[in-house]
């Protein structure tokens, strides 16, 4: 099953490689990984998407907790949560296709953030499968470039992951 693990980790150089190294050394899979500092500059927040049986996910969380730099973590898949991913797409446009593309962007509640005579850059956030659906709406040759952040997530309700 797919799990989103949200980690608070010391903002130290090397902390990221400890997490990445753990996954490669133990043969766990990482689908995506996002990291950024938090409001407390001594801490980073990492969101990691992985897949595995319950036993594997249990080992993954135990092994992550064992890293000295990991302060806390939660498996978001265990409770109700919200998940979002940011995508930037560069689409090739022609005189004829520009209106159609714009309509697609509106349907998916995206934004056109850069325009040239032959291209648009579109910004879109949402669940990963929505972003997939948007991409699938285009012919492969009209897509110049796709950049995705990988999902991040937060639990619903008033509880939060902090010190």
């Amino acid at each position: 099953m797919r799990h989103i693990i949200s980690i608070l980790i010391e903002n130290e150089s090397g902390a990221l490689s400890r997490v990445a190294g753990l996954f490669s050394a133990r043969g766990y899979n990482i689908e995506s990984l996002t990291v950024a500092p938090t409001e407390d500059p001594s801490l980073s927040r990492m969101t990691l998407v992985t897949r595995g049986s319950n036993e594997i996910i249990e080992q993954i969380t135990k092994q992550l907790n064992k890293l000295i730099d990991v302060v806390k973590l939660i498996d978001l898949a265990e409770s109700s949560h919200i998940e979002r991913e940011l995508m930037l797409v560069k689409i090739r446009t022609t005189q004829d296709s520009r209106e159609e593309v714009k309509r697609m962007v509106d349907i998916f509640r995206g934004k056109i953030i850069d325009v040239t005579p032959n291209s648009y850059v579109i910004e879109m956030t949402g669940q990963s499968n929505k972003l997939d659906a948007f991409i699938h709406g285009f012919e492969a040759e009209s897509i110049i470039e796709v950049v995705r952040s990988g999902p991040t997530g937060i639990s619903r309700g008033e509880k939060g992951l902090h010190l």
Binding site: S17, G21, E55, Q59, K62, I68, D69, V71
Partner: protein, 578 residues
């Protein structure tokens, strides 16, 4: 007190009560070596290869319970230490490795003797640090000792760029008395409810067994383990790493379990209905084929590291905590309980076990005209009255040592279990002898293993650490040859050496005594002579039967009740259940 980084480092070691640093100098640690020169509280042991520094420090830790300390230079000094760091990591041994690094401003420029030590060692340390500011040095050292020695112990490396120890930069020195790390809070006491559940399960067992491991020794809980086992009257088996926690000569002890464990221990595991696993990690050498592992058992598992629990074998009652306080609580609950173990069930269980025991699975040919390796270990046990510290290398000789030297105290059996590092034995013996100068120390080794760190014979002379090297010379990498005999129709591919040094001369060249023993009737005398030479390192080269194999054996992919024995047992092999 204003000190430079080099002096701070040495002062930190003094404040930690460090007796010995095992090390080897080089460019990036010269400032530190200069600080060492100015004092003699912390004694430096100059090894002949950095791998040996780590093994000596590791064995010092295993024999004393105190962390071992290593000091190496950057680049090749650090890479040479990696094998020993990984060895300590796999067996959860507390160790501090101080490595020099190129000066901070040139890190990343492929400077002379630069390697990414923090990166290379990351997967085989409990934690590591790169010191970026001399003002952080003392606190980092304190953290290193704290992390290495608490929770599940392990090696911690501190990488120190040369500019951090610059003699011209002096700062006020203060060693923190206490330290806490917000992201590191190892559990100590176990969950009360779980402990109660475990006790109820234990007391209602019909065919119970205690399976104890290295965690009991690491957690100094051998007294508690003994008390609990005797209180219950249950059979107990131990892993290779647990030997000595429970006294081997005691009738409740079934011997080691696992690949080369005894028939009775493995059969009892297989047929048991309740297993109490204490500080053991269900290693593959222990479990054999996982799908057939202990099919009838409910398992209770005490371990300080949650990731050891249900890693390979799913357990029924996990207890996260230190062995000592958890066993203490269990003992208390058992004493208070009105429930008693069922006497009838236990009597019948012991009867079955005694039948297995009567197979006498460790018996071997005692009338051979060749020296049997088992016989040498038995004689060593006699001559040292079971009181020696025994280190070993890796191979058949290691298994003979584990099977035939009946350890009755913890920290006496010093070997590389998890990584299985050949070359461990001799430097380990030196580390142990430094820790216990008045005790007998024997290194049981093989002619292949000993050559991996033979250069330490020189260290042994310099520091006057008179150890006895028991070389079970079978002219084969016996353990490899055994597998080739069983699984590759005796195609002995590269498992022997066409040239083997004359060990007697080699020992003499290094300034020690060498003896070559070729006949069984000379074994005892030779050992007695060697141990009588209290102040000499003696190399005893025993020319043993080169075809001997280690039995019993659970071959790869087989289950506990599917063992290869030396002779087909005459007593009933089938358990009641099968």
């Amino acid at each position: 007190m204003e000190l430079s980084g080099g002096h701070i480092l040495v002062q930190c070691l003094k404040d930690e009560g460090v007796e010995f640093v095992f090390g080897y100098p080089g460019g990036s640690v010269l400032h530190i070596y200069d600080a060492i020169f100015h004092q003699d509280d912390v004694k430096h042991i100059l090894v002949r290869h950095e791998q040996a520094a780590t093994h000596s420090a590791d064995a010092y830790a295993r024999a004393t319970g105190k962390p071992g300390v290593v000091l190496v230079t950057s680049g090749p000094g650090a890479t040479n230490a990696v094998t020993g760091i990984a060895t300590a990591y796999m067996d959860s041994i507390p160790m501090i490795i101080l490595s020099g690094q190129v000066p901070s401003p040139v890190i990343g420029s492929d400077a002379f003797q630069e390697v990414d030590t923090v990166g290379i060692t990351r997967p085989c340390v409990k934690h590591n640090f790169l010191v970026k500011d001399v003002n952080d040095l003392a606190e980092t050292i304190k953290k290193a000792f704290y992390v290495a020695t608490t929770g599940r112990p392990g090696p911690v490396l501190v990488d120190i760029p040369k500019d951090i120890t610059d003699p011209n930069i002096k700062i006020p020195y203060k060693y923190p008395k206490k330290i806490s790390i917000r992201s590191y809070n190892p559990v100590v006491t176990g969950h009360k409810g779980q402990i109660k559940k475990a006790v109820d399960m234990l007391l209602s067992a019909q065919r119970p067994i205690i399976y104890a491991g290295g965690g009991v020794i690491l957690g100094e809980a051998h007294q508690e383990l003994r008390e609990l086992t005797r209180l219950l009257g249950y059979p107990i088996t131990q892993t290779l790493m647990g030997l000595g926690a429970y006294p081997a000569p005691d009738p409740q002890f079934l011997g080691m379990l696992g690949m080369h464990g005894t028939y009775e221990a493995n059969m009892a595991m297989h047929d048991s209905d309740v297993i109490l696993a204490v500080g053991a990690r269900f290693d593959d050498r222990v479990t054999g084929k996982l799908a057939n592992f202990c099919p009838y058992a409910k398992i209770i598992h005490i371990d300080v590291d949650p990731s050891s629990i249900s890693k390979t074998v799913k357990v029924d009652v996990p207890i996260v905590g230190e062995v000592k306080p958890v066993l203490d609580q269990m003992i208390e609950l058992i004493k208070e309980s009105d429930q008693q173990p069922s006497k009838a069930a236990l009597d019948s269980w012991w009867k079955t076990i005694e039948e297995w025991r009567s197979v006498n699975c460790l018996d071997y040919d005692r009338h051979s005209s060749l020296i049997k390796p088992q016989y040498v270990v038995e004689q060593l046990y006699q001559v040292t009255k079971g009181n020696a510290f025994v280190t070993s290398d890796v191979g058949q000789h290691q298994m003979y040592a584990a099977q035939y030297y009946h350890f009755d105290q913890p920290r006496r059996w010093i070997n590389s279990g998890g990584l299985g590092t050949m070359g461990f034995g001799l430097p380990a013996a030196i580390g142990v002898k430094l820790a216990h100068p008045d005790s007998d120390v024997a290194c049981i080794t093989g002619e292949a293993s000993i050559q991996m760190c033979i250069q330490e014979l020189s260290t042994a002379l310099q520091y006057n650490t008179p150890v006895k090297i028991i070389n079970l010379n079978n002219r084969y990498m016996g353990m490899v040859r055994q597998w080739q005999e069983f699984s590759y129709q005796s195609r002995y591919s590269q498992s022997y050496m066409d040239t083997i040094p004359e060990f007697v001369k080699l020992a003499e060249a290094y300034g020690h005594v060498g003896m070559r023993i070729e006949r069984p009737e000379d074994v005892k005398d030779a050992l007695e002579q060697a141990f009588a030479m209290k102040d000499r390192t003696v190399f005893l080269d025993f020319i043993t039967d080169r075809t001997e194999n280690v039995y019993p054996m659970i071959e790869a992919g087989k289950a506990h009740n599917d063992m290869k024995l030396r002779v087909a047992p005459s007593a009933p092999v089938d358990s009641e259940l099968s």
